[in-house]
Symmetry: C2
Subunit: 139 residues, 2 copies
DNA sequence: TTGTATGCAAAAGGTTTGCAATGAT
DNA sequence: ATCATTGCAAACCTTTTGCATACAA
């Protein structure tokens, strides 16, 4: 991580180290609040705001990832049977993808470790044609 | 939907109809706020709170689905390359699933409609062994 | 020394809840 | 008549932001 900071000319602060250590130490997927609790145990006085800013910075560096791509607000759809989603990272739009070939993926039991799958859905992330055009013309 | 309400002895209210109509009329995946705007155009006076309650009710009936399984708070993980997630619907825990066989899915170009996929991840929903035990013993 | 990060506190969404009144069956 | 639902308003939780200060390089 220090490397990635240097690449970008960004300072390596104790807070960044603390957040990354806290996150590396766990296998579950903690919330910002949980990261704050863990990190501020080692570095008392850290603010929640700092944790959010550090997580954003680390995400931008590609060190950390936000799971549950929870935009600010939840999205709804009429339940139309199993299908997947195309999510445009440019504009945030979500389109449905009905693709029978993707409805029968098998999850090796050996990997499931006692986990019983009831359903699954795939989230494809990329750029819609509109956002691609925009990006091209901007260059 | 009227049918599902009756099954459960729940009233079919104008608000429920308005929300479902609003949601059925769109293919994008509107936020609760957008649903509220659309529904209250037809049924002035509807509150945002009602929209949330109606969406919850419809989801419980299996008529509507919440995309962006945005729990209240975002979750983070250290970026460890491509992998998928096992999400327990019982306790909300998320586990990583590294499964090489699932890393080379192909999305038929014909279906993508100009959408260029950069990456994807699969979310398997089900019950972890702990929650399964609990559920069994409760019966 | 310079530019970025931090703490603090306040604001800004999004969502939930208590309560009295309304309404569906 | 009965029980769930609605509206209203306030509360709640998570995340973001402005500003002055502190700090890494």
């Amino acid at each position: 991580m220090a490397a990635r900071c240097r690449e970008r000319g960004l300072p390596v602060t104790p807070q960044r180290r603390a957040v990354l250590r806290a996150l590396s130490a766990r296998r579950d997927h903690p919330t910002a609040e949980q990261v704050h609790a863990a990190a501020s145990a080692r570095l008392p006085g850290m603010t929640r705001a700092t944790v959010y800013r550090v997580l954003d910075a680390l995400e931008a560096m590609g060190v950390v990832r936000r799971v549950d791509h929870a935009g600010a607000a939840a999205r709804y759809e009429v339940d139309s049977g199993p299908h997947h989603h195309l999510v445009c990272v440019g504009c945030g739009r979500i389109a449905d993808l009905h693709e029978p070939a993707l409805e029968s993926l098998s999850l090796p039991a050996s990997r499931a470790r006692g986990f019983v799958v009831k359903e699954y859905s795939i989230q494809f992330r990329g750029l819609c044609s509109g956002c691609r055009k925009q990006q091209r013309s901007r260059k």
